[in-house]
């Protein structure tokens, strides 16, 4: 019904929309999501022909390119066939007229009806949207936000259009009102084609079949609603979902990270904020492409969020040769796991379940017996040729921070050791990097602190120093082996918060090892439960906590609940 082809909108020199291509079939309901300033409203307005910017490309409505059409023709379509529910802001309704007359106005203008007929129809529409007769006679000032939203919907419906654009229909409304408006939208758009613009994933989940994610005027991902919510593929989509409060997530909210790179103006719009960007991303803009096999369109040079580590059938067997017998025991038994960039996976299990052995195998510190470890698409056997590079990208944080430092070294020496090993010879650079990570973990960076010994630090400070040291090489995968179990609860909370903050900022993939399922619940995207060397349960953190399947998980949860 509506097709956008390479749509561009510029205000002055600022490109607000950048080659948008989108097809909406008759009866289809499509959502557009993005942060404020992404160009969502401009997109709606340009379909209406109401934008003040320079518009390029094609807007094809029922086979007719509106941009090529005369203003006259477009005006005829507007409100009659394409209508828009304007964003519900304070001055959107004319304060000088009653609601009823404002809804009647377009009817009078576009259809050959008498005033009283028009008012009768307006009344019916307003009633349909749930406003009482008394309220219709009021001026906009006297209405609540929810009521104004209803009035705006009624206005859009005035000429019975086939295609309706809703621009942030529920912004700034409370949950209950939002729910009512959502029901209303569902009802009125039943036989229509709709485009719903919102920053609210869960409104869209209710109302649309597919969602396009808009970032800085560009569609970065487009897929069926369920698909996109369950498996966001573009890093920006996932960040958006993570920043939205919901009952389906137990973790703290995370904002979309701030950019840390200069954006050259060309290349991928998300480049500056992306943690997995390549050099290519700064130079060439990725095009929206169909991803196989899923019905999904994505604009990303890296084909979406990359998988940092994967293990297949990972097994670590310890054998003890006796005189007549051969004792063997599998500390890690056929473990499959996968962690994506920016994802936190918790490994939960009691002591002796093989968690630490698994961690050491993945970190390349102990050879595994069978199976495969694949880091950034390459098997560990290949990485052996470039071990130094591998170790610079995989870092561990140890359970007991004090023992992970050489007590004979000063804090500065501890921090620059990884850099020395990695062959960074310039003292200035090493010092700069050491100071940077100290700032990140909120430790002092003055001379006297740098030259003091690690033994003079408290438990919390030690673990923060350990985190700083792990980050000094800017790793891609961080393995945290019980990083807070040696700390008291107050300090644990601080350290954990810091760790998560840095994880989000750097886009680290993190394997978080803990015996504490309650802690795992607060931290992770997914939980793996390990028992006697095997992964007995895996899944989304909320699912594992709320609907555990394996008896061992249930036992862990019961134990956690009783404290």
């Amino acid at each position: 019904m509506l097709e956008l082809k390479d749509l561009q909108v510029e205000y002055g020199n600022t490109k607000v929309l950048n080659s948008i291509s989108l097809e909406i079939e008759e009866g289809e309901k499509v959502g557009i999501i993005g942060e404020s300033g992404a160009g969502k409203t401009t997109l709606g307005l340009s379909v209406m022909g109401l934008t003040q910017g320079e518009v390029g490309g094609q807007i094809i409505f029922k086979g007719q390119n509106l941009l090529a059409a005369k203003q006259q023709d477009w005006a005829e379509l507007r409100w009659q066939q394409i209508a828009m529910v304007m964003q519900n802001v304070d001055n959107i309704l004319n304060p000088g007229y009653t609601i009823l007359s404002q809804v009647a106005e377009p009817i009078i203008q576009h259809e050959n009806l008498t005033k009283s007929e028009a008012i009768f129809r307006a009344e019916r529409l307003l009633k349909q949207t749930g406003l009482t007769r008394a309220k219709m006679k009021l001026y906009p000032d006297s209405l609540s936000g929810g009521e104004r939203a209803r009035a705006l919907i009624a206005m859009a419906l005035a000429n019975d259009p086939e295609f309706i654009i809703f621009d942030e229909p529920t912004a700034a409304l409370d949950f209950l009102t939002k729910e009512k408006i959502a029901t209303l939208i569902k009802e009125v758009s039943k036989e229509k084609t709709t485009l719903i613009i919102s920053h609210d994933f869960f409104l869209l989940k209710e109302l649309v079949d597919k969602i396009a994610v808009l970032y800085q005027g560009k569609i970065v991902e487009l897929a069926e609603t369920e698909e996109i919510l369950q498996k966001p593929t573009h890093p920006y989509t996932r960040a958006l979902i993570r920043s939205y409060p919901t009952m389906h997530r137990t973790q703290e909210l995370q904002g979309v990270r701030r950019g840390n790179k200069e954006h050259a103006g060309k290349g991928c719009p998300f480049y500056a904020r992306c943690t997995q960007s390549l050099d290519l991303c700064a130079l060439k803009e990725p095009q929206l492409q169909k991803m196989e096999p899923a019905q999904r369109f994505l604009a990303c040079h890296r084909d979406g969020i990359v998988e940092v580590i994967r293990t297949r059938g990972l097994t670590k067997e310890y054998t003890q040769d006796g005189l007549f017998t051969k004792d063997s025991f599998k500390a890690v038994n056929e473990v499959d796991l996968s962690i994506k960039e920016g994802e936190i996976v918790s490994l939960v299990g009691e002591s002796g379940s093989g968690k630490s052995t698994l961690a050491k195998s993945i970190a390349g510190l102990t050879p595994h017996s069978e199976g495969e470890i694949i880091f950034k698409g390459e098997s560990l056997a290949n990485w052996k040729q470039k071990a130094l590079e591998f170790h610079s990208q995989v870092q561990m944080i140890w359970q007991d921070p004090a023992s992970s430092f050489n007590s004979k070294l000063s804090i500065l020496e501890i921090l620059i050791e990884p850099l020395q090993i990695q062959g960074i010879k310039d003292k200035e650079i090493r010092l700069k990097k050491a100071k940077k990570v100290l700032r990140e973990v909120y430790l002092p960076e003055d001379e006297s602190f740098l030259s003091s010994e690690s033994t003079s630090l408290s438990g919390g400070e030690l673990q923060r120093l350990a985190i700083a040291r792990a980050l000094v090489l800017e790793p891609k995968l961080l393995i945290a082996d019980e990083p807070t179990s040696a700390l008291d609860p107050g300090v644990q909370a601080q350290v954990l918060k810091l760790l998560l903050e840095l994880q989000n900022q750097e886009g680290l993939a993190m394997l978080f090892i803990t015996h504490d399922i309650a802690l795992a619940r607060k931290v992770s995207d997914r939980i793996l439960v390990m028992y006697e060397g095997k992964i007995v349960e895996r899944g989304n953190a909320v699912r594992v906590i709320n609907r555990p399947q394996h008896s061992y998980t249930k036992r862990l949860l019961t134990a956690a609940n009783s404290f």
């Binding site: 510190l365 561990m396 992970s404 050791e417 990884p418 090993i421 090489l473």
Partner: protein, 260 residues
């Protein structure tokens, strides 16, 4: 106790270093009549060759200290080299050295020395090398065991996590933690070497021209019937005892300090 040890060792060291300044005569020079009793010009008398015993005593300290010092250095270096590499490379290499050490420790030292004495004339440096080869084994085993347990510690695992190689781990982490062990080792080998050198010289192994306490005792014994033992036999014996006692006290002081 540590202080007493330090004082004793200090005095011996001063004697050894400044022997040419303190000694009234050259130790191998014929200065007068042989077999004189102590008098004002020959503090401890002269020996059968007319050499001044006091001067020989002072120069004897040089021999003991330099043999002790260089043997300690060399043997500890062997211990360190073999101990650390065995721990680092493990496997067959480790097995080889550890079994070899077991075998070497089973052979009595004195027996080897007597055998060598039967066939060779050994110079000062030859003595140092022989003593070193006889003194590294125990140290190597101790260092290997300590290194092995250090290698399992978290800070070394952490360094490996940054991609550290064996050399980096040895230089940056192992050595600093082996230092106390090395100093114990140095003292122990020093003491043993001083004692063994005296023993070897007493048995007649080694260069006869070497001025050594052990040799003095041997020579004095031949003339014991003259009653010269109190100025010829006793002084080297006492100095030898004091040197060894000094080192023992130092070692003991170290240990008790560490346990505090």
């Amino acid at each position: 106790m540590r202080r007493v040890g330090l004082a004793l060792v200090g005095i011996i060291l001063i004697i050894a270093i400044f022997a040419p300044l303190i000694a009234p005569y050259t130790p191998t020079e014929y200065v007068g009549q042989s077999l004189l009793a102590p008098n004002s010009s020959y503090l401890l008398g002269t020996n059968d060759l007319g050499e001044d015993i006091f001067s020989r005593l002072l120069y004897g300290a040089r021999t003991s200290v330099s043999i002790g010092f260089f043997t300690a250095l060399l043997a500890t270096f062997f211990s360190l080299l073999i101990g650390v590499t065995s721990a680092l490379f493990a496997g067959v290499y480790d097995l080889f050295w550890m079994r070899l050490i077991d075998a070497l420790l089973a052979i009595p030292t004195v027996l080897i020395i007597i055998l060598i004495a039967a066939f060779f004339r050994v110079s000062l440096w030859g003595m140092i090398i022989i003593l070193s080869l006889l003194s590294w084994q125990q140290g190597a085993r101790v260092i290997r065991n300590q290194s092995k347990s250090l290698l399992k510690s978290n800070f070394i695992l952490a360094a490996q996590g940054f991609g550290a190689g064996k050399l980096h781990i040895t230089l940056k982490h192992l050595l600093s933690h082996l230092l106390p062990l090395l100093s114990v080792q140095l003292l122990m080998v020093f003491r043993r070497a001083v004692f063994l050198e005296a023993g070897m010289s007493f048995l007649g192994v080694g260069d006869p021209s070497l001025v050594s306490w052990g040799r003095m005792i041997r020579q004095a014994l031949e003339y014991i019937y003259l009653g010269s033992w109190s100025w010829w036999l006793l002084p080297p014996g006492v100095l030898l005892t004091l040197t060894i006692l000094g080192v023992v006290l130092l070692e003991y002081g170290r240990d008790s300090q560490r346990s505090i």
